[in-house]
Symmetry: C3
Subunit: 277 residues, 3 copies
């Protein structure tokens, strides 16, 4: 192997690189059952020339918001052309629509229950198609496991070059969750919320840099505790909770060598009041 | 990439597709230690041209029945020719035989302790060979880690085309667990059991469609609770436990948006009485 | 595929085999967040021609010793030329140096905080370079996620053939943890410690075969309990804790079909007194 100082390696472009098509997997299946293995098998049985990448299978069971956030935080890191298979599906087998989404050079396959809301919110252009063309599905899809019998097989087909618009009719009104953008309350103040708590106990808010005027002196109030400081690194400074711009592009509340969620007794959905002057 | 509307993609055949040979991994090693990485390394050091697919590493420690069930539920979803490396091995290093099984177009490598019982039960034809030919083993296999030093290397060799019958003598009497099929009690009534509880709390029984006369009005009794309803989807209907044909081919007891295991206080091994009229 | 009875398959050599370059991942990121998926995406976006192998992502948060031990136990099982991406990084974003290590035919990428100590201890030759050449980094690395924006991209570059010495200046004094070798106390007695507790509750000590005179009658004392027996297999013998030479090359304390850590109330760091006669 010789060194190739390509534009791809230096990460300065978003051009499509050669290589097997990537299918990511993001589910609430857990990793202790046969579900993930069976879904991967269903993909590989149809199209072995793919690269499977797990995002996570530990979305809290049936928690669509958590799935939607995790997808938002990860998908742009994957190569253009990646197919994201996202299955958090409390309505599996019912009338909810199976869909494929094309947005920002990525593809997304899963149920139409709001999982792709934040992709619609971030991308200026997107198209959604309902999966009605059953020629790529398993012969008798099990009503309780569309990941294996419907979504996985469709992802395998997309990876082989099947076009989204050949899979079914355009969907104009996909299901969307409450917007991620913080609200302005009746006094004109920003009211944000905790949208995710990560493995380290960091509390990710829905506040982006666009939501805060630069140079403003910002305070956050969560569970009656005031956070006054925005830091650059975790390792900096003293103890106590502080805010930091996180790797998903949102303001996070953290504690050095500890869990902000524990210190603040914070949970997902908690209101974050933003005070600025 | 061009669309290829192949028989493979549409999933209507079981023909062998081109692609790297697949080795699945199914163990009780957990994922917090170096075990899985070392076993994968041992495979790749011998044969880098394989595709590794984790089924799960979270089989409860040394629980052979759970490993056997998970294998049964997953293996048919993988491509024909797949090598399933299954290591739940309380007797590692002792006199229990290491074996390779050829059945239904798949290969299975692991200890002869019952792990492959349900494969023998499902497949009409199978052959078992004891792994006595040590030329593919690590030089001095560690008596506590045959996954890395014996089974992994043999799986790598199988993936390179080594034939099972070159690995050792035929085994006529492989160890088998209690059959999966429900029993008939002395009154001629079907007596089934809970064989697995999944991540969502669904209680998988050992009842298959073949065990229930079609059209019969069936009730299940578990822990003195009666389940009267067989539904098509999870999302359907009202609260309370119901039965549903699960994705592994067995009747499951489920609760909408909840855990049947919690509601019923059910555990693996619980008796399921089947009443029909 | 034809059988190839190569030196590689029989594991009798350490020659480099053809195949995609392997990048292993060893972190404390957990598997429930987007972190691992985003880091893999960052690698694949730059260099899709790699094989990603997870060692574990469940190192206890910010526990450098545990990361260092797990790396030590796993890395030699991977093919020569493997790039080990190791991110347990409490100092992320601060002044701690990002480094690449070349040792024993393997490469290691991560923070200079002691993670590679046991590699330095085991290998007779190693070279360390500070990652100052930012041409392979993401354009504006996030100070809280160097795994995605710095270490992952550098691993992708190494896999494409970029040379470690092109990435920055030589580091003469990498950070090192307390040596793994057991101490001799003031009475000339060996004083070891528990360095890891695995999924099964086995307590791995830092005692190697080199530390114990062969033929000596050895007793271990942990938490005031005396362990008199060194066994060959887990399945052997009676109940009660016993010692066994583990698969990572260290003496382990185990209990048949149970957890030695529970039986002994042992935790990582516990002193292990070694008595010999």
């Amino acid at each position: 192997v010789r060194a190739k100082k390509s534009a791809a390696l230096t990460g300065r472009t978003a051009e499509k690189k050669p290589g097997l098509p990537v299918i990511t997997l993001l589910t609430d299946f857990g990793t202790s059952d046969y579900f993930v293995g069976a879904m991967k098998g269903a993909i590989l049985s149809r199209n072995p020339n793919v690269l499977l990448v797990d995002i996570t299978h530990d979305i809290p069971p049936q928690n669509i918001e958590s799935g939607a956030f995790t997808l938002l935080a990860a998908y742009k890191s994957l190569p253009l052309g990646t197919i994201h298979l996202v299955v958090v599906d409390p309505g599996v087998g019912s009338a909810r629509r199976p869909i494929v989404v094309e947005a920002g050079g990525h593809f997304f396959v899963g149920p139409d229950n709001g999982l792709f809301s934040y992709v619609y919110e971030r991308e200026s252009k997107w198209r959604v198609f309902q999966l009605t063309n059953n020629e790529y599905f398993a012969e008798s899809p099990c009503p309780t496991f569309h990941g294996r019998d419907l979504f996985g097989p469709v992802a395998a087909a997309l990876a082989a070059g099947v076009k989204p618009d050949s899979l079914g009719p355009l969907v104009e009104d996909p299901v969307r969750l409450k917007p991620l953008k913080p609200e302005l309350n009746h006094k004109g103040k920003l009211r944000a919320r905790v949208i995710h708590i990560d493995r380290f106990g960091n509390c990710i808010t829905n506040i982006t840099r666009d939501d805060l005027p630069t140079g403003a002196n910002t305070k956050l109030i969560v569970r009656k505790k005031t956070i006054k400081e925005i830091r650059e690194y975790f390792a900096e400074g003293k103890s106590g909770p502080f805010a930091i711009w996180g790797s998903a592009g949102f303001l996070e509340i953290a504690v050095k060598n500890g869990s902000a969620a524990e210190v603040l007794h914070a949970t997902i959905g908690d209101t974050v009041h933003v005070l600025q002057k």
